[in-house]
């Protein structure tokens, strides 16, 4: 009985994804989108009422999965809405349009399934599916540059997912020695304490490195940057938020297993190194990047670095890390949706060509300004709270020098980000022809305001249900 909803969801979303390709009329696309969003929400609501009930053997909606399932269900609504706006302004053939929507549906569904999976192999399968569907989104424009971006994305993600698979094989070695024959996270977690630490270490290295391609951390972050740059902005919004969460979940689930072993301190060191390097790399690129979309993508690398710092520091850091990830998943799509309006106004992605945005699109400019404050974690941004808690956890666990270094790097990022954003808002652009300006209605910015408002609300006054979910998700960590 409990299996029915997920059993319908998976094939139904596949069918909807494929029908997008064949039913190309506008009305049928609207209907299919509504059908998919209804399906997505039906799944989400059902899973919230069936917490920790195993479904179809391989799926369990535990607290962590529920949090991110809720996030993706919220984010996918404006993503589809902005996709329709995108196609009304940028005419593409019905075939490309069908491909795009189909890939969006399959990406959302495979992400949801990857969140819910309770088996390391099933997670692997669905994460690989996200690579395939995301590559269809990146290739959407079919130009030389998108071809290059898609090729690099598929190639790096294929190598990374192979590394994850090698890691899984090492887990198998460790598990078999303890007589465990299946790879459910729960079983591994229970028996982790008795496993051979050598194999676990090897497995953690491979699994962590592999999932960094999705999570956007050093060493494999590069492909994700190109992907977010080259994908159309509604897809970029998904790639920059919910897709990064799946990488985090992959890392977190195995991290949770190692937390019951003697190598826990060692894994924390790995996380710390990767996190520090991520923040550092983000700083370096933020200083020189002039492409707005890539700038936002590097900001994602920075935030994932902060999340991992929280994880590595432990204590209150676990709570802060997950809260930060949730808030980031709402803030970043708002920026990407706003980018669509900037591109329509100026026809360019470069900071040099954009300027005086307040004059041409006042609501859009307000979104941009507000989003800048939110993303750089200035009060009243909810991310201020989560970042502050991350810093507190770093301080409490004695990483004072790391904390100082990170604060300096983050200040540099705020300066670099702010320099570009204020240039876009207030300084006159060069060679901009005002006469061809098409005003952008206020209604297109409403979803961004709602998302940013959510960041403030969830950060400052997190509802009790959310706090309880986060605490449940991290309850097994020491």
């Amino acid at each position: 009985m409990n299996d029915i909803v997920l059993g319908i969801y998976l094939p139904a979303s596949l069918i909807i994804g494929i029908s997008f390709y064949f039913l190309r009329k506008y009305s049928s696309q609207v209907l299919l989108t509504i059908a998919f969003i209804a399906l997505q929400w039906a799944l989400t609501v059902f899973e919230f009422f069936h917490r920790d009930v195993i479904q179809l053997v391989y799926f369990t909606p535990d607290a962590l999965a529920l949090i991110f399932l809720g996030v993706i269900s919220l984010v996918c609504i404006p993503a589809f809405y902005h996709s329709f706006i995108y196609f009304s302004k940028h005419p593409y053939g019905p075939r490309e349009q069908g491909m795009f929507f189909g890939a969006m549906v399959i990406l959302t569904a495979s992400l949801s399934a990857a969140y819910l999976s309770n088996h390391i192999g099933i997670t692997w399968v669905f994460v690989e599916l996200t690579t395939l569907s995301a590559s269809a989104l990146i290739y959407h424009r079919r130009s030389k540059l998108t071809l290059e971006g898609t090729w690099k994305y598929i190639f790096i993600c294929s190598i990374s997912i192979t590394l994850v698979f090698i890691g899984v094989l090492f887990v198998t070695v460790a598990a078999q020695q303890q007589g465990i024959t299946d790879l459910f996270y729960r079983n591994l977690s229970i028996h982790a304490g008795t496993m051979n630490v050598f194999w676990l270490k090897l497995a953690f290295l491979f699994i962590f490195t592999g999932f960094t391609a999705k999570a956007g951390l050093v060493p494999m972050y590069t492909a994700g940057i190109d992907a977010k740059d080259k994908a159309p902005y509604p897809a970029g919004a998904l790639l920059a938020s919910v897709l990064m969460n799946v990488g985090f979940i992959g890392i977190f689930r195995f991290y949770e297993i190692t937390s019951h072993t003697t190598i826990f301190g060692w894994t924390n060191k790995i996380l710390m190194i990767s996190a520090l390097l991520s923040v550092f790399v983000a700083t370096v690129y933020m200083l020189r990047v002039k492409n707005i979309k890539r700038m936002m993508a590097y900001s994602g690398v920075e935030h994932m670095g902060i999340v991992m710092l929280g994880m590595a520091a432990g204590g209150i850091g676990y709570y802060a890390a997950i809260l930060h990830l949730i808030l980031h998943s709402f803030a970043k799509p708002a920026l990407f949706f706003q980018f669509g309006q900037i591109y329509r106004t100026y026809g360019s992605k470069s900071v040099y060509d954009v300027g005086y945005y307040f004059k041409y699109n006042i609501t859009g400019a307000l979104v941009l300004l507000f989003a800048f404050f939110i993303v750089t974690a200035m009060p009243p941004s909810g991310m201020f709270i989560s970042e502050f808690l991350v810093f507190r956890s770093l301080f409490e666990s004695g990483y004072l020098w790391i904390l100082i270094l990170v604060l300096i790097l983050l200040t540099t990022i705020i300066w670099a980000f702010g320099k570009n954003v204020f240039k876009m808002l207030f300084i006159k652009p060069v060679n901009f022809d005002e006469s061809r300006l098409v005003p952008i209605p206020f209604s297109e910015s409403v979803s961004q305001f709602i998302l940013l408002g959510l960041v403030v609300y969830l950060g400052l006054m997190p509802p009790r249900g959310l706090v309880e979910l986060i605490n449940a998700a991290i309850s097994t960590l020491p």
């Binding site: 391989y58 088996h119 192999g121 099933i122 692997w124 399968v125 690989e128 599916l129 690579t131 395939l132 590559s135 290739y139 030389k144 540059l145 071809l147 290059e148 971006g149 898609t150 090729w151 690099k152 598929i154 190639f155 294929s158 190598i159 997912i161 192979t162 698979f165 090698i166 094989l169 090492f170 198998t172 070695v173 078999q176 020695q177 024959t181 299946d182 790879l183 051979n196 050598f198 194999w199 190109d226 740059d229 080259k230 690129y285 020189r288 990047v289 002039k290 492409n291 890539r294």
Partner: protein, 209 residues
């Protein structure tokens, strides 16, 4: 018998390192598929019929026939020159692949574990690193796909080494994913050939900051 097959597999790695023509690469990858079938067949002789059919499908049909034919098709369609055009000379490649094999040998001997069978690990690691080495040092995009195939073959040997205990459904998913990603890589290599008129990684240097 398994040892003979695995050693032959390792020799093909050295052969790939010094092969000049792309067609040789494809033939070697197909040959590796047959070798892997032999290893898997002997290794998994006691398993049931379904698993046997599955392994047959994975090695013979996909690794030894479908993917090599597909790669051959891309070669013919794009008029890719027959030379592999590595960045380094073949002699250096042979030396490096030999070092990789020796390195895997020593690396595996570090494992203080009686459960694992070392020869599988040596061969698997050699194939993994040789695959990566081919990806790094070859100029053509299509050779990247071939390097990825060698890497995947290494992973297959590794999964035999640990006596893969994954359930059927997971195995099927993994097989399908790998197959689709290779096909996708091939399709995009094909498209890159159409758009850029030359299948060279030098063409892919435009996305940067």
């Amino acid at each position: 018998m398994i040892n003979i097959l695995l050693i032959t597999f390792t020799i093909t790695l050295i052969y790939i390192a010094m092969a000049n023509r792309l067609l040789t690469y494809i033939r070697l990858i197909a040959f590796q598929g047959f070798l892997l079938f032999g290893v898997a067949f002997i290794e998994l002789i006691e398993i049931n019929l379904v698993n046997l059919v599955f392994v047959l499908l994975e090695t013979i049909i996909i690794k030894a026939i479908a993917i090599p034919m597909f790669l051959k098709y891309i070669l013919d369609k794009n008029n890719i020159t027959r030379e592999a055009e590595p960045f380094v000379s073949n002699f250096v490649s042979v030396v490096i692949v030999t070092i990789i094999i020796l390195g895997s040998f020593f690396l595996t001997n570090v494992f203080q574990d009686t459960y694992v069978r070392k020869i599988f690990f040596i061969v698997a690691f050699s194939a993994l690193f040789t695959g990566l080495y081919i990806i790094i040092t070859r100029r053509k995009i299509i050779t990247h796909v071939m390097g990825y195939m060698v890497l995947e073959n290494g992973v297959f040997v590794l999964s035999l080494a640990v006596g893969n205990e994954m359930p059927m459904i997971v195995n099927t998913g993994i097989l399908l994913d790998i197959f689709v990603s290779v096909i996708l890589l091939g399709i995009f290599a094909d498209k890159i050939g159409d758009v850029f008129e030359e299948q060279d990684v030098e063409q892919l240097r435009n996305l940067k900051d």
